[in-house]
């Protein structure tokens, strides 16, 4: 069989799906059958999730077996033709974006006023991605001003729209 891209990742996913499917089946099997309420046994709550657990486990097994025979244990076929430097840069951008989004949605929202959380997030996000070490100060100041303007507009308009127009109490 020809080596597939993502073969090793598929093997790991397949194994995870098998374990997940079996766990889902076991949990469904252990669900109350509600005999004390004299319900029809065909309407037991665990029936459908149990069947889905079996199907997911079977699909995971097929995926794992297919990957095992398609180069999961050998050298991996690259998905793109990016250079290592380009891949590192992409990973850095992804990590930065994920961390900023997580901090905003989990740490800031719900714990400080929404407008302030939005102001900080939008400003820091734009500045973090547009910051360049060897940039001249006038250009840098312009970018900072634009980031601040967008942040102020977002922090002003979005809460106004939800709170005043849609009467939603923001976190």
């Amino acid at each position: 069989m020809q080596a597939r891209p993502l073969a090793r990742a598929d093997l790991i996913t397949g194994v995870i799906l098998v374990v997940f499917g079996i766990a889902a089946f076991a949990e469904s099997w252990g669900m109350p059958r509600l005999e004390e309420r004299s319900i029809n046994p065909w309407t037991a709550p665990g029936l459908v999730p149990g069947l889905l657990g079996i199907i997911i486990a079977l699909l995971g097994l097929v995926l794992a077996l297919r990957s095992a025979f398609a180069g999961a244990f050998g050298p991996q076929v690259p998905l793109d033709d990016d250079t290592p430097e380009e891949r590192r840069a992409a990973s850095r951008r992804l990590a930065l974006c994920s961390v900023l989004c997580f901090i905003y949605a989990v740490v800031l929202v719900g714990h400080i006023p929404f407008w302030l959380a939005t102001l900080l997030f939008v400003f820091v996000f734009i500045v973090s991605f547009e910051w360049q070490r060897d940039e001249a100060w006038p250009m840098r100041a312009r970018k900072l001003a634009i980031a601040a303007l967008i942040a102020v507009l977002a922090a002003g308009f979005i809460p106004y729209m939800f709170e005043t127009l849609f009467l939603v109490r923001l976190p």
Binding site: L34, P45, L47, L167
Partner: protein, 502 residues
């Protein structure tokens, strides 16, 4: 027939006012902008607008969402032509010939053709929406639990197969995972909690809007920020009003693509992107200039843009009549209808027949607005494409966070959005299609209740599942789809029927 015309005129009266025109205009414009910006998809746009319109009157809210949907699928052609990046997945086939045309200095011509093809495609779809929806609703009245069970399985299997071109297995895994997600929370027959693990917020289940905003919004933001920035092919635009001779020359392709797009749209969960690809492939096969496809063929561009827009009314047909969406944006539309107290499904032609025809008008008005804005605002839209993603994405993320929260006022829904964003990103990176996952979340409840009710009705006897006429059609088609995805069966079929690989 005459009763249908009566409903059609009655439906028009609902929208003969200034508010309607205003809502159609701004929502279509928002849709075009969302579609044009890489990273903002039609599904995300409709989902975010659902959170912004839930205090509106139901007809006006659905009108806004449909306008955004139509605008976004069309708007994606702008970035496909100018950036070689489809603004929405539906415009992937448009890049094949749109971008080469732009590089050859014919961007305006390409955008003009995309506009008119999209309009014609949507109107072909609207024609079938008006005809097929009432008929399908009548057929669906005969559906019992057996048929709904098979419809759910059929939807997942065919969406899994068609949405992932070369790896149906991954499509099916995504679909069945979606079905499983729908099992979380109180089940619909005995109100028994499942997979809640003492977490009270899970007992209500996973709401569709946070799951969709996460899968199509947050995941898309992560993808866009990870990728390299795109560059415009050209900033110069030639004439944007297409020549009638071009359209007349490709009339067969346009009509064929419109019909294919609508038919693909009707298939549960399959949607606009596949509508465009199949239309494109059919056009290439039938074309006299097939060697030009992929190098800047106007016929290829017409086929792709007609196919994806025709799939919009197509995808609305099963959403309205079976409560089974034909595409991911139609899934959000379905959820929005439920939020607004409308009840899509087989009873719709009995309970609210006017609404079906109101939807026909909504799509028609949005299509007109799309055409007018598409032609008039070519140059301003070019400026939108120059907005750096670094400045746009944080604002979009704020909307992704606060939108799902605004519906239920639960911080928990923000965490659900984030979870599905990360899950969607990982699955997408590993080449799992997202449409079957979303379809699964919607169909899970139907599958769960239908299977158990059917087993009670038949007292555990499985024969009605296989021998009732509509059930038989559904399960045989499902089985054939599964068999056709198995490489050994494909090879055997190729040997028996003498197909070659090309």
């Amino acid at each position: 027939m005459f009763e249908g015309l009566g409903h059609l005129f009655a439906a028009f009266e609902t929208f003969a006012n200034f508010t309607t025109v205003f809502n159609v205009c701004w929502a279509t414009l928002v849709g075009i902008t969302i579609g044009a910006l890489p990273g903002l998809t039609a599904t995300m746009g409709v989902a975010l607008l659902t959170t912004l319109t839930y205090k509106m009157a139901p007809e006006q809210a659905i009108l806004v969402l449909i306008s955004c949907y139509v605008g976004a699928i069309y708007g994606g052609s702008r970035s496909a032509i100018l950036l070689n990046i489809p603004g929405t997945p539906a415009n992937a086939a448009t890049t094949m010939d749109g971008f080469p045309l732009a590089k050859a200095g014919r961007a305006g011509e390409a955008m003009g053709l995309a506009t008119t093809s999209s309009m014609i495609g949507t109107f072909i779809g609207i024609f079938f929406l008006a005809i097929i929806a009432p008929a399908l609703a009548e057929i669906a009245l005969d559906f019992q639990s057996y048929e709904y069970f098979w419809l759910a399985i059929f939807g997942i299997v065919i969406a899994g197969q068609m949405c992932s071109f070369d790896d149906a297995l991954k499509g099916w895994i995504a679909g069945f995972l979606g079905l499983f997600v729908a099992m979380i929370g109180q089940e619909g027959i005995h109100a028994e909690e499942r997979f809640v693990f003492g977490w009270s917020e899970l007992s209500g289940g996973i709401a569709l809007i946070p799951a969709l905003v996460g899968t199509f919004g947050v995941a898309e933001i992560l993808t866009v920020m990870r990728n390299r920035a795109a560059e415009l092919a050209t900033s110069v635009v030639d004439h944007v009003v297409p020549r009638l001779s071009d359209l007349w020359h490709y009339k067969r392709t346009i009509v064929r693509s419109g019909i294919i797009g609508t038919a693909v749209g009707i298939i549960p969960g399959v949607g606009e992107d596949i509508g465009a690809w199949i239309s494109y492939a059919a056009a290439r096969r039938a074309s006299k200039e097939r060697d030009q496809f992929g190098k800047g063929s106007k016929e290829g561009l017409c086929a792709a843009e007609t196919g994806n827009n025709a799939a919009i009314p197509g995808a609305i047909i099963p959403a309205l009549t079976l409560a089974v969406p034909g595409s991911a944006p139609a899934a959000v539309l379905l959820a929005a209808m439920l939020i607004h107290g409308l009840r899509p499904g087989p009873m719709i032609m009995i309970e609210s027949p006017d609404f079906v025809f109101q939807v026909v008008w909504m799509v028609a008005m949005a299509t007109l607005a799309m055409g007018i804005f598409g032609i008039l605002l070519t140059r301003p839209l070019l400026k939108i494409l120059k907005v750096p993603r670094e400045r746009l994405m944080p604002v979009v993320f704020v909307l992704c966070v606060i939108g799902p929260y605004a519906i239920t006022l639960r911080l928990f829904d923000i965490y659900v959005t984030l979870f599905f964003g990360v899950l969607g990103f990982i699955l997408r990176e590993m080449k799992y299609p997202m449409a079957p996952l979303v379809l699964g979340v919607i169909l899970g409840d139907i599958l769960d209740k239908s299977l158990r009710r059917a087993l009670v009705l038949a007292d555990g006897d499985l024969t009605p599942f296989f021998f009732r006429p509509i059930s038989a059609v559904l399960w045989i088609t499902t089985a054939l789809v599964i068999l056709s995805a198995i490489p050994g069966v494909q090879r055997a079929a190729a040997r028996v029927f003498g197909w070659n690989k090309a």
